[in-house]
Symmetry: C4
Subunit: 190 residues, 4 copies
C-alpha cells in the first residue's frame, strides 16, 4: 500500500480546515469602519491558525515523503492527527471572539498540544514500522523545536489561567518558530 | 477505466464529511467552563462519528485496492455509499443535541445500517464484475464483523424506542470493534 | 497540458457541492417525529440533486476520459459548468423549503438547463479542439437523451408557472433517465 | 520534492473557496419574485469572484506547470497566496450585501491587490530557485497585464472612498481582462 491516497485524503482534510476557519470571520454587519473593529482579534487568531495548518501541512508533506510503507497503524495515527487539527477552526473562532479570556486560550493551547503529540506519534509508529535503518529513522530525531514547542504549549495553557494574553503570545511565537520547515529532512533529500 | 478518479472523488467527499461534522460543535457562547458543558454529548457524538468515517475511509481504501475494473454499476454503488455517509454530520449533530432521546438515536442507527448495507453492495457488485477467481472474490467473504455490526445496528435502532442510551452504547462498541482494519485484505496484499 | 489537474479540481468542486447540499438539511429542532415532517420535501430535493451531481460527475468522468488536450477554452468551459452546478445546493434548499411553488421550481429548472447547456458546450469545444477524427468526435453525438432532457427542463420551467408540482416531477423523471451512464462512450472504451 | 502534492492541496483550497462563496447566497426567504431582488448585487459579486478564482486557478495551473523544484520558500509563498484568496468569500459576501459602499469595496480591492502581489512573489521566488536559464524565467516576464491590474486595484481602492460604484466597475473590467489565460506560458509549452 502506498502513501498516495493517505496523502490525498489528508490534503483534503487540511485544505477544508484551512478554508473553513475563515468562515468564522462571518460577513460583517454594516459597512462602517467600526464594523471591522471586532475583527482585529479574530483576524489575528485566523492568521496564526492559518500558519499552524500551513506548518502541519508542510511537515506532513515532509514526513510522508520519507515514509514508504503504510499500514493500519499509520492510517489511524494519521487520522488521530487530523482529529485534533479538525478542532482548530472551532478553537480559533472561540479564542477570536473571547480574546484574553481563560478557557478559550487554554482549549486552543490544548488542541495545539494534542496535535503536536499526534504528529510525534506518527513519527514513532513510522520508525517502528520501517526499522532503525530506514530513512525516516535517520531523519527524525527528537529535535529541540519539538521539545520547545511542547513546553511552550503547556506553559501557554497554564498561563491562560493567570495571564491569557501571555499564553496567546507564546502560541504565536511558536508558530513563527515553526515557519522554518524541518531542515533536517529537507537537507537529507536534496 | 481505472479506480483513481473514483478514489479521489470519494476521498474528497469523505474528507468534507469528516471535517464538516466538527462545524456543528459551533463556537461556544461565552467563555466560562459552563459554556463547555453541553459540549460533552456533542463531543462524544463527534468523536465516534469521526471514528466511523475513518473506518469507512480505511475499508474503502482497502476495498478499492483490490478492485481492478470500474464500470457504471461500481460508480453508482459507490455514490450510494457516499449518499448515506453524507447524512452522518446531520445525524451526529441531531443526536449530540438530543442525547438519550428516541428518534435521533434511531435515525443515527439507520444511517449507520444503510451505510453498512451500501458498502456490502459495492463488494457484491465488484465480485460480480471481476469474477469468482478475482482477488476481490477471494479476500471479501461475508465476515463475522459484518454480521455482528448489522445485528448491532438493528438492535440499536430497536433499543432507541426503549433505552436510547443503550442503543448509542451499542453503536460505540461497534465503532471500536471496527477500529481494527480488515485484516483479511491487508494480509492478502502484504 | 494534461487533464489530470482539471479533473482533480472538478472532482473537488463536485465533492463539495454534493456534500454541502446536505447541510441545508440542518440539524432538526426537537426530537419528536413531527420534527422530521418538514424534512420530507427537503429530503426528496436533496435525493434528486444528489443524483444529478452524481450524473454530472459520471458523465464528466466519461467525457474527460476521451479528451486528450486541455487548452484555455476547455478550462473555461469546464469552469462554466462548475459555475452553474455550484448553484444546485442553493436552488435545492430553496425548492425544498418552498415545495410546489412557482419561482423556486423555475429557478431549479433553470440551473439544470444551464448546467446541461454548459456540458454540451464542453463537448463542442473539445470536438473543435481535437478534430473530427478524434475519439471524442466519434463518441459524442447529439443523443436523444440530451434533446429529451433539454425539452424536459424547459417544460418544467414553464409548468412551474401553472403546476409547479408537475415541473418538479419532470425534473425527477429526467434524473432517473440519466441514471444509466453514457453507454456510447463506455461501449467505445471497453 | 515534486509539485504534485502542492498542486493537489492548492486545488483543494481553491475548490473550497469557489464553492463556499455560493453559500453566502443563502436560501432565499419566501418564494416570490421580490425574494430574489436583493440577490442581484450578490449574484454579480459572486459571478465576478468566481471568475477571479477561476483566473487564479488557471494561472496557478500554468505557473506550476513550469516550476520543477519545490522548496520551503515556494511552499510558503504558495500558502501566502492561498491566505489572501481565502478572504475572497467573506469580502465577496460583504460587498454583495453592501453594494456601492466605501469600506466593503476597498476591502475587496485590497484582497485582490494582495492576492495579485502574492502571485508575483511566487513567480519571483520560483525564478530565484530555478535560475535565470530555467523555463520559468523565460516565460514569466513582468507583463503589461500584471502592471495594469495592479494599478487598477489601487485605483479601485482609492475610488471606493469617492465613487465605490466605479471602483467595483474597475475590478470587474480587470476580471474580464484576465479571462484570457497567460498566452506567454501556454504558447511556450504547446
Amino acid at each position: 500500500m502506498t502513501t498516495s491516497r493517505l496523502e490525498a485524503f489528508s490534503d483534503g482534510v487540511l485544505a477544508i480546515i484551512i478554508t473553513i476557519m475563515v468562515l468564522d470571520l462571518k460577513v460583517p454587519v454594516g459597512d462602517g469602519l467600526l464594523s471591522l473593529k471586532p475583527y482585529i482579534p479574530k483576524f489575528l487568531s485566523y492568521f496564526f491558525s492559518f500558519i499552524y495548518v500551513g506548518i502541519y501541512w508542510n511537515n506532513h508533506h515532509h514526513l510522508f515523503h520519507t515514509i514508504k510503507k503504510v499500514n493500519g497503524k499509520i492510517l489511524w495515527s494519521n487520522l488521530h492527527l487530523l482529529f485534533w487539527l479538525s478542532f482548530l477552526p472551532v478553537a480559533t473562532g472561540w479564542m477570536g471572539e473571547n480574546y484574553n479570556s481563560t478557557l478559550p486560550t487554554a482549549v486552543y493551547g490544548f488542541v495545539l498540544l494534542m496535535s503536536s503529540v499526534a504528529f510525534m506519534i506518527i513519527e514513532k509508529v513510522a520508525i517502528k514500522t520501517e526499522g532503525k535503518d530506514s530513512d525516516i529513522a535517520k531523519t527524525v530525531t527528537s529535535g529541540s523545536k519539538e521539545i520547545i514547542s511542547t513546553i511552550g504549549y503547556i506553559l501557554g495553557i497554564l498561563l491562560a489561567f493567570i495571564l491569557p494574553f501571555l499564553g496567546i503570545f507564546i502560541y504565536y511565537v511558536i508558530a513563527l518558530l515553526w515557519l522554518v520547515p524541518d531542515k533536517r529532512i529537507e537537507k537529507y533529500y536534496n
